[in-house]
Amino acid sequence: MAALAVRGLAKRYGAVEALAGVDLEVREGELVGLLGPNGAGKSTLVKIACGLVRPSRGSAEICGLRAGSREARRSLGYLAELFRFPGWYSADEVLELHQKLSGSAGGAHERHELLELVGLSDATQRRVEEMSKGMQQRLGVAQALVGSPPLLLLDEPTSALDPVGRRTVRVLLEELRRRGTSVLLNSHLLSEIELVCDRVAILLRGRLVAEGSPAELSKPRGVEIETDEGVRLFEGVGREDVPQLVAELVAAGRKVYGVSVLTSTLEDTYLEAVGGESS
């Protein structure tokens, strides 16, 4: 059973069509990255999955349960793009509140473990209002993990983080994959998505325009071979052609010093899919 199954999902805000019939699945234990320019419908999709927004058409299911139902919400953890915790709460109190609301019996041990996981074990008693934005965002990630939900919906979890914070979240995502947690990661950081996600979906104007693993989405761009005559680019060939190319060059008396198989990056694929659109 899919952790998240979205079929024909559409949402209209007045005259604006935020989603125009999207089909998407996040399988059990899978880490899926959701990409797209601003206004593509990424946050709307995540919000429908959480039950914060009602779809105009189509369906969304969490672990086989109707998205938005109380049972479905028991199975997910969510980090909103724009969120805030009451300033007077300490990190530990925020997690305790969410433990109570989610019915988690993890107690102090779970809270300690989660804060350690996001690198906040030294700030357990620090009030939210005394935390930097990055610390609050990491606390938000910890909050989403309360009760060990089988599905995590993370909307821009690293937007306020510095490189070290981003790395912490990346390590955390890898740990979640190891634990078998399904994750839908909505992010603008292509490198991040490329590094951690099993699959990528690209949305544009409410429609899914590309989907696949980062490797599938990356297209071959040729082979670059460094010889005693300099670097030569062989276009239209791939990894399987390398032995023959090297053999031909050696047979022609060239000295081969290095070979690079060129593929397009996720960034190239993304830019091609969205046609340079940024908002």
């Binding site: 919000k47 959480c50 914060l52 969120f83 509140l97 609301l101």
Partner: protein, 283 residues
């Protein structure tokens, strides 16, 4: 039920931490000191006053002063109720405070009910405490006590609880600022309607009285306040009772059990509209 208590506790903590609570407490302390001074000097000089025949000066002064205290108590209670609830839904959603709570397995109706209970848990004891304090000040200083001791206080607290529900309903549809302004304007409109009703009674204007009655049914918090005022001197008869009824703190003419039942029904109606509005709201 557990979730209701958790969120009500969250609201209570919010109330206690907010500066508005400290401000209201300081205002209350100032109000009580001034009220005591007023009582002290008035009752000190009351023996020197020669009222017209048939007027009990002590009862007249006591009821008027305590009526004034009831107005002050209602106003402070309403300020507190509005500030605790004005941004509970849309305001908190715009600030990003609501979403992390809503995605938990807590129903939206549960959240609304809990926020209302949290506000009432602060406002009702507060109103009760100020009511009791002012009653003790007037009673101990001027040796005058209301004809009914408990019911007026309960009605005052119920009026504030109704305002909290109205403010919560407004928070579903309006931004915090717009909601605050709207509820305060309704509160003011209710008070003006009540005063117009009193004037209409004195002038024997049926039109004004009818308008006040309609306002009382539309805004039952005001009718509850007027009924509480009426209860203060319900047993006071003669010229004193008649004159008290003519004054600004004389009480309303719409009251009794029907009003109390309507107030409960009104609360339910407000709750149902808020629940439907909230359940259909995209966050």
């Amino acid at each position: 039920m557990r979730e209701i208590l958790v969120i009500a506790g969250y609201g209570l903590r919010e109330a206690l931490r907010r500066k508005v609570f400290v401000v209201v407490l300081l205002l209350t302390a100032g109000f009580l000191v001034l009220f005591w001074l007023g009582n002290h000097f008035l009752f000190q000089n009351i023996s020197g006053i020669n009222p017209p025949v048939g007027i009990d000066a002590r009862a007249f002064a006591g009821a008027t002063l305590f009526g004034l205290a009831m107005f002050g108590t209602l106003f402070l209670g309403v300020v507190l109720a509005i500030f605790l609830t004005l941004g509970a839904v849309r305001g908190d959603a715009e600030r990003g405070l609501l979403q992390p709570l809503i995605v938990r397995p807590v129903g939206r109706i549960t959240l609304l009910a809990a926020r209302w209970l949290g506000a009432v848990a602060v406002c009702a004891p507060y109103v009760g405490l100020v009511y009791l304090s002012t009653m003790l000040i007037t009673g101990l200083t001027g040796h005058w006590w209301p004809d009914h001791l408990v019911v007026p206080g309960v009605e005052l607290a119920a009026g504030v609880a109704l305002v909290a529900a109205m403010s919560l309903l407004g928070s579903v549809f309006l931004t915090a600022t717009a909601n605050g302004i709207a509820v305060f304007m309704l509160f003011g409109a209710g008070l003006v309607a009540g005063l117009l009703g009193s004037i209409g009674h004195v002038l024997n204007s049926h039109t004004l009285e009818r308008a006040a009655k309609i306002a009382a049914w539309l805004l039952p918090f005001e009718a509850l306040y007027q009924d509480a005022l009426r209860e203060l001197t319900a047993e006071t008869s003669g010229l004193t009772g008649f004159l008290l009824q003519l004054g600004p703190f004389g009480g309303g003419y719409t009251g009794g059990t029907t009003l109390r039942l309507w107030a409960v029904a009104y609360l339910l109606i407000v709750g149902v509209i808020a629940a439907i509005g909230f359940s259909r709201r995209d966050l």
